[in-house]
């Protein structure tokens, strides 16, 4: 067996995007997953490729780059693998953010104004225009903003299409292999990834373990602060075309940026390619507790029903949950770990990993090749206080 140049740990969408970008740049890549690929956080995501929920700043810049990159990447994969194997249900459907209370109308307008200044298309619309965009939307809205750039894809298809490309280029994807640490040579240079199936010699390792990235980082001797944040999503039975955009309540923005541990929900309602409607999303800091709480589902349902009264009698077929990885300062962690040569991290994307994956993969590949990155990578560097010092403390 030929040794890989780089081993990526974690075959979720972030790991897959890193592996794809590194292999596109000519590296031989092996992707490991302790379970099945695309079965953790990626499988629990709604497939958001959003610019609308981000305030101006480094994460918005990364999101804008990723929004531009995703369709190009998927088109290139379709060219390389054929349309079927590269299909990821990409849908540039646009987003519609609505305020339903008097107190949230002005903050929404201000937020959108700041985003416009940062180059986001954020078009204020009247209630009547919002009703034309979404005929079944509640009439009780106080402000609305249309974000034509917001898009959606099916995250498991996207991740597995990226992995298929890695394999087509001579790389390897191995399920059921657990990474347990790294090995350095006598001089301290990186030598191999250690797994429960033996050591794999390579030049570098990318830690893309999502909410479990902190554990691997600790095993590799360079702990980072990555914490899980629980989320639940409801899925309805398939419906005729009822919801056209990604529609969400303006309080979503506040929930994303918050570090509050208790339950937060904000309504996100959207159709999928198969006609089901996804209703999200909740945010809770409960560790890796998988317990299913009725009050969380009830609150999601109440808020979705308030936004789309027509959905009241629609059957909800299932509910699923997952864990988002977040850093204490709510920014992704992307880059080389200065403490351990050969160790790289790509994690901490919280609820935005699907959208940010394309640009994250490209950033890792560019940094690895010591090329200039399309987006300033320094805000995402590993050795920032929130990531390293909070662990030490």
């Amino acid at each position: 067996m030929v040794s890989p140049d780089i081993v990526v740990i974690g075959a979720g969408v972030i790991g897959a995007a890193c592996a794809e970008a590194l292999s596109a740049a000519g590296a031989r890549v092996t992707v490991l997953d302790r379970g099945a690929p695309a079965s953790g956080t990626t499988a629990a995501g709604e497939g958001n490729v959003l610019v609308s929920d981000k305030a101006p700043g480094p994460e918005l810049e990364l999101a804008q780059a990723s929004r531009k990159l995703w369709p190009e990447l998927l088109a290139a994969l379709a060219e390389e693998l054929g349309p079927e194997l590269a299909d990821a249900e990409w849908e540039p459907k646009g987003g519609l953010v609505v305020a339903t209370g008097d107190e949230s109308a002005a903050p929404l307008r201000d937020f959108a104004g700041a985003q416009r200044a940062a180059g986001v298309r954020a078009d204020p619309v009247t209630a009547a225009e919002a009703g034309a965009l979404e005929p079944h939307l509640t009439k009780a809205i106080t402000a609305a903003v249309h974000y034509p750039e917001d898009a959606q894809l099916q995250p498991v298809l996207a991740a597995t299409a990226l992995l298929a490309a890695v394999r087509a280029r001579g790389g390897e994807v191995r399920s059921g292999v657990r990474a347990i640490g790294i090995e350095a040579d006598a001089g301290g240079a990186f030598k191999a990834v250690l797994t429960d199936r033996g050591a794999i010699a390579c030049a570098a390792v990318v830690n893309a373990c999502g909410p479990w990235a902190g554990a691997f980082a600790a095993d590799a001797g360079a702990p980072i602060a990555v914490l899980p944040r629980r989320g639940m999503v409801l899925v309805t039975a398939p419906l005729p075309y009822t919801v056209r955009h990604k529609v969400y309540d303006a309080d979503y923005v506040g929930a994303v940026a918050s570090g509050d541990a208790d339950l937060q929900t904000s309504t996100v309602v959207e159709s999928t390619g198969t006609g089901t409607i996804l209703i999200g999303s909740s945010r809770q800091r409960v560790g890796f507790e998988e317990r299913f709480e009725v009050r969380v589902l009830a609150e999601l349902a109440r808020k979705a029903q308030r936004l789309f009264p027509i959905l009241a009698r629609v059957p909800v077929m299932r509910a699923y949950g997952g864990f988002r990885p977040y850093a204490p300062d709510h920014l992704p962690i992307i880059g080389a770990d200065p403490r351990v040569p050969g160790l790289w991290h790509a994690t901490g994307h919280e609820g935005a990993g699907i959208g940010l994956a394309a640009a994250t993969g490209r950033m890792i590949a560019d940094l690895y090749a010591e090329k200039e990155t399309a987006v300033d990578a320094s805000p995402f560097r590993v050795d920032r206080p929130a990531v390293i010092e909070e662990v030490a403390a």
């Binding site: 690929p37 695309a38 499988a43 299409a161 994807v173 009830a298 109440r302 059957p315 299932r318």
Partner: protein
């Protein structure tokens, strides 16, 4: 809106196991609530005619019976569990919600019968054996006038008998395994199943009286028809269930009832986080699961039939009563019946397994998931081309198991076809049954609903 009530013991399922558990617990004086989806008691095994007003079973005084009620979620609370219940006909917009806080739960949710896919199995006129029997017993309806019964296990006999009882002609019974004497000849099994011998003799007499041929080592491998089933191809099987070339025969039928054993209805046990082994709930000698205060009885713990289920139910009910502080005499007789019943069940399982050759019955375009219309080629592609090696990614890539049945029909088959070595891989369903969004919105007893669930829109 949901209201909360308190009951010491909640029994879920009113089949043989649940009924026995309810009686055993109520006999100790404990306060018991029995919840079941059907309007009448008895479950699938004792399914009663839904058209008449009489009730065959009586419950001890004081037992609260929630009929036409489904438990859609279980949550742990201090000192026990909370069962979230909806009451009313399944398709009714006016179901009401209750949440019941219980110190002990007895899960007796039973099993549903398993169908294996074959070309044409999705044609109208192909039924599961359980559905054919439920229609016959519950509604007096025959699924066809010329019906073939096929599959494996002794359950095929009562199904054929029920069909004859409602006027259908049963053209044959095809048993994919070797003949029935296999387990009767096992001395332990025969002993434990002594009670069964009379029952089987009665079915055998029905077969003879109606001249119904019983063919072992034969199965339906294809159903034909334009809009509904008109004919089937059957074939003789080798020991692994691969069809023997040249043994194919065609029969004209207008309905087929297929049953290949049973799949336990595990979602509530999974929600309560009970430990599973080989696809069944692990219990100790008192029918206690790995979760304190949660007991399980009947087909959830292993497929063993009504007698064993009732014995397990009696023990589980007594153990649940003991758990809530009632004075209980050890149910020694029921425990003995469980020991012998399990020998019988083991012999049954050995004689009537599902063997791997069924996978060769499928063609590329044979549907493996009917809800989402996923064919075998697509399922293989998901695994081979898209790295979908786990149940979660397999569902999301292939869509198998994502439809209305949520994998209840196809889950075990999809897992087996995809090399996922866990029969319960598709059994986790945090919402055990679908709920309307408005029902879910009103489901939290501690919240004040902003919109009443019965709201008209």
């Amino acid at each position: 809106m949901s209201r909360t009530v308190v009951s010491s013991i909640v029994v879920i399922g009113a089949g043989p196991a649940g009924l026995a558990a309810t009686r055993a617990a109520a006999d100790t004086g404990a306060d018991v609530t029995l919840i079941d989806a059907a309007p009448k008691l008895g479950g699938q095994y004792h399914r009663q005619d839904a058209r008449t007003g009489d009730e065959r079973f009586a419950l001890p005084a004081g037992v609260q019976h929630l009929r036409e009620s489904v438990v859609w979620a279980i949550e742990p609370i201090d000192g026990g569990h909370r069962a979230h219940v909806r009451t009313g006909p399944a398709d009714s917009p006016d179901r009401t919600g209750t949440s019941i806080d219980a110190a002990a739960l007895v899960l007796a949710t039973g099993a549903y019968d398993r169908a294996l896919p074959f070309p044409g199995w999705d044609l109208p006129g192909v039924f599961t054996a359980g559905a054919a029997q439920a229609l016959a017993k519950g509604q007096g309806v025959a699924v066809g006038s010329r019906v073939l019964v096929a599959g494996t296990g002794p359950f095929l006999l009562p199904v054929a008998s029920s069909l004859v009882g409602v006027g259908a002609e049963v053209v044959a019974i095809l048993e994919a395994n070797a003949a029935v004497r296999g387990w009767l000849s096992n001395p332990f099994g025969a002993l434990a199943g002594a009670g069964k011998a009379g029952e089987l003799a009665a079915y055998a007499a029905t077969l003879v009286r109606h001249r119904i041929p019983y063919r072992a080592r034969r199965a339906v491998i294809e159903a034909h028809g334009a809009d509904r089933v008109e004919a089937v191809t059957t074939a003789r099987l080798d020991a692994d269930w691969s069809p023997l070339p040249g043994s194919e025969k065609t029969m004209e039928v207008d309905a087929v009832a297929v049953g290949f054993g049973f799949t336990p209805q595990l979602e509530l046990a999974v929600s309560a986080r009970c430990e599973l082994r080989d696809g069944f709930v692990v219990v100790d000698a008192a029918q206690a699961t790995s979760v304190p205060g949660v007991f399980a009885a009947g087909e959830l713990t292993g497929i063993g039939g009504a007698t064993l289920s009732a014995a397990e139910g009696a023990v589980a009910g007594a153990a649940a009563a003991r758990h809530v502080g009632a004075e209980v005499r050890p149910p020694l007789q029921a425990m003995r019946r469980i020991r012998s019943g399990r020998r019988f069940a083991a012999a049954l399982g050995e004689a009537y397994p599902v063997r791997p050759g069924w996978r060769t019955w499928l063609r590329d375009d044979t549907l493996v998931c009917r809800c989402e219309e996923v064919d075998y080629a697509a399922l293989r592609g998901a695994r081979n081309d898209r790295d979908a090696t786990g149940s979660r990614s397999l569902k999301l890539v292939s869509r198998a198991g994502l439809g209305l049945c949520q994998g209840r029909v196809c889950g075990a088959n999809v897992a087996e076809l995809s090399g996922i070595d866990d029969p319960a891989a598709f059994a986790g369903r945090p919402m055990a049954v679908p709920l309307r969004l408005c029902e879910l919105a009103g489901a939290d007893p501690e919240a004040t609903p902003e919109i009443e669930p019965g709201v008209k829109v």
